[in-house]
Symmetry: C2
Subunit: 191 residues, 2 copies
DNA sequence: GTCTATATGGAGATAGAC
DNA sequence: GTCTATCTCCATATAGAC
């Protein structure tokens, strides 16, 4: 890859990052391209050099989030015990509880918003969630559960994490995440 | 109350109901006043005789949902055992799983959307959720748990219900609700 | 590649006849 | 009370200079 291409892609990543932040805060529909341009520090018209439509931007955001998730999951492979890896996922929620209380889970809230939009965009937004669900199921399989049981446990775990992000956002209360995380950890210990 | 007032309020309730349905499907921001008027079978301009602004409409929807929830909770007082009342709540999710898979929980998805909007509207949207949380806590208190434990259990229950609505909507899969409901019922039995 | 200026459409809200 | 017609604003997207 030529240096110029690398720089161009780097710039695009910065735009995606800016768009991801402001859409997380305001939601996709209410966020204007002007908002994104301002957050990125460029002119409105310049956005169109990188993305043809607003939908293209959200597609790029979702793809980037999938990449980030995969990277984090590879990182967790260093942990020997599956229980520790699941604990690491829960800890992510605890660590981001303040921003979640303000704006919700970036993945879940986007899913909810784009699902109502209908069409292919809704299914696309669910991909990061699918990835977490599959990953969690694998961890429970590693703990010795069969496919069916592991699927149920993973569903319950991801469900709880998404649910607590919604509640903590609805009530603007980050401590709800702390409380639910404690509940989930006790549940995992008693499995 | 005079008959004319009764009729006017009845008409207003029908408008609220129509707005509630279409906003549940499309989301608040994406739903236009034209959509609501069409769903209600009236002209766009006629909406403004009943509601001064779009925000007024969503406020009326939330207030109506609170009334509906209270009514349902009074109905459940017929059930002697608190465990049966909680089971009735879970059964609501099972019963509405198809529409939840299509559009999510009407309460939770509106919370997520309006929380990003900021301001008083976000806090208002959380009122039905607060009501469910308080009600669930009371049921666990009735089962003999102290305030603290009952609060944690209620939080976990409502969290799971909201989370599974989000997931089933994200994946357009109503059966996820059936699976999580089974998980929750087993959990309740083992308490 | 980045900018300013603008075309185009659609949304909330209003006016005023009936 | 209900309607049609319209005002006004703002968002996406485009055009074209630099």
């Amino acid at each position: 890859m030529k240096p110029t291409q690398a720089r161009a892609q780097e710039k695009e990543l910065r735009l995606i990052d800016a768009a991801s932040r402001v859409i997380h805060k305001q939601g996709f529909v209410r966020t204007t391209l002007g908002d994104i341009a301002q957050e990125a520090g460029i002119a409105l018209g310049s956005l169109y050099y990188y993305f043809k439509t607003k939908d293209d931007i959200v597609r790029a955001i979702v793809a980037q989030r999938v990449r980030d998730l995969r990277e984090g999951m590879i990182d967790w492979e260093r942990l020997d015990r599956a229980a520790d890896r699941i604990d690491a996922l829960i800890q992510v929620w605890v660590n981001t509880r303040d921003v979640d209380a303000l704006y919700g889970c970036p993945i879940g809230s986007l899913c909810y918003e784009l699902a109502k939009q209908g069409g292919a965009l809704g299914a696309l937004a669910a991909e990061p969630l699918r990835l977490q669900l599959d990953w969690a199921k694998q961890q429970f399989c590693d703990m010795g559960y069969d496919e069916n049981a592991a699927g149920d446990l993973a569903l319950h775990l991801i469900t709880a994490l998404q649910g607590i992000s919604l509640l903590s956002n609805a009530f603007s209360d980050a401590e709800l995440i702390t409380r639910e995380a404690r509940h989930l950890r006790l549940w995992l210990q008693q499995l």
